[in-house]
Symmetry: C2
Subunit: 350 residues, 2 copies
Amino acid sequence: MSGDPELVADLTTPALAVDLGRFDRNVATMAEARPGPALRPHVKAFKSTALAARLADAGHRSFCSATVRELEGMAGAGLDHDLLLANEVVDYTRLGRLVERGAAITVAVDSTETVVAAAAGGVERVLIDVDVGLPRCGCQVDDAGRLADLARSKGLEVRGVMGYEGHLMMVLNPEEKRAKVEKSMRRLLAAHEAVGGDIVSAGGTGTYAVNTWANEIQAGSYCLMDTQYVTLGYPFEIALSVVATVISVNTRGWFVIDAGLKALGMDHGNPTSTRGEVLFCSDEHTTIRPDDGDIPAVGDRIQLLPAHVDPTVAKHRQFWVLAAEQPAGPEAPVAERRIVDRWDIDLRHW
Amino acid sequence: MSGDPELVADLTTPALAVDLGRFDRNVATMAEARPGPALRPHVKAFKSTALAARLADAGHRSFCSATVRELEGMAGAGLDHDLLLANEVVDYTRLGRLVERGAAITVAVDSTETVVAAAAGGVERVLIDVDVGLPRCGCQVDDAGRLADLARSKGLEVRGVMGYEGHLMMVLNPEEKRAKVEKSMRRLLAAHEAVGGDIVSAGGTGTYAVNTWANEIQAGSYCLMDTQYVTLGYPFEIALSVVATVISVNTRGWFVIDAGLKALGMDHGNPTSTRGEVLFCSDEHTTIRPDDGDIPAVGDRIQLLPAHVDPTVAKHRQFWVLAAEQPAGPEAPVAERRIVDRWDIDLRHW
């Protein structure tokens, strides 16, 4: 490869690709459903300031993140109008530095220790993180008021509450989902009663449409999507794929590509191939049983659709952005698709 | 954190740690069993030239790799005495450049296309990769001679054969394992008959002791190990861990640390905690049910043992090396352990 790749055929594989048409439609669909600050995009899903800037252009200027590194990168890119670390931390060395430099940062707290650390660390604003049913971070509802009082006594502004109903993302039945999310959010609202503040932050791509109790939704996966989230039947399309090269075709009934589990998030299972059934992934290979009559040739480019967007993205250095409108039409081989942009995945690591 | 971390307590978490005592014992054990060129360490397991240099010091100067990037890094570090790309490639642009610069490179081929690509790409030496039972790369035994002839007709030196009995790594019963590996290696030896050359390369950490048919073993995981490989009962210790910080302790019976599935290879399942039962991993969290009477405090450092070494390593930028001899003794809290070195994981990506 010399110079910038113009076509998918020019890419070093495995490579992460975004279909710009699908991405733009996903962003527009969410911006209509949850306009402006009603969505606080979660950067953990895409870890890219270039991508985040597009969401800001679509009206969402408040972001949340899961790591200090993500906040540092967002602040460095000037996307620090209202940044929430939707996670607990104990070491505030780096966050304090960001606040000193003028970034508007709010941090989740759920214990005396994390409140004390936030106050000592130079952060000025917190949300009380509440256990709404997912066995993870968050204080109990009846402890939320105490933590808010403690925070205020230490000079911190308490902006409200957050809670993540992550255990309900993949509930398929709409009535069951609505009932369970309501029950979960009633806990958050009860905590909010005791805490005060303007923010009730919750949700994700799996509950963005049903969670009407939160006043901002922390969704990120919707703009790229994966084969698990797409089973929910929401109006978002899979815009993400891993482009690979066929390196071996075996007469015993399979072929092998050069993208394996080091290029894919595997915690939701195998990726899906557009050219056959995925049998298994190795470190740098995926073995695929071809569809009848569709045996590829060594050197062909094919696409894998990841099962989980977030950890897949975290394994790559950049998204290669494929043109929304393909002169050759959607049926053209992926190798001929035109690359129009590169978005660095600059918020990786910790 | 300012300056170099001296103790585990100084690390930004999650962080990858290597116990130098265990690592050195693993390396010595293998060097005794498979001295010098009888082992061709597979760099895909650790992706670090600093670590590879220690294996070279232990007598293993021939290496193999799974990606072009790994070869480039090894050549850049001067570890290019005898480098094998134990994988098929079609694009030889970058490999050709390495050969021009003097790196001694051999590449696996298993088809007319890959032989033609190797010859056109400037590589001078190949191994014929043979399907020995794992459904992945490798030609059929009865095609190996034809490919060797084709390669020689194009001016390539054919150094021998390779095959990977990856499907047999985790067979537990020693007699069953030996019988199955022998059957697999008979295929490789039959191909070798037709191919010629000096090299019969095969195996991995799971078959290093039983595979007496290959004259070099491609093992890499043995030096760091993981919770899956350790179930084989071989004389290698787990030297790798992910260090994390406790960020939340829930009165409902769990605690949460700041290392999740983005810091761990998940394809072999959940990691193991030294402080309780791992319930599940999220992107940046692991939820753990504490052992009776051992509830940690927010801010404590704990260790996770990964289930799969290779993809775990590929998610991190460096190994933090913990001193072999701990003045505080092995029972000291991990936070107090001394850091003596940093090995960059410089062979990542593609």
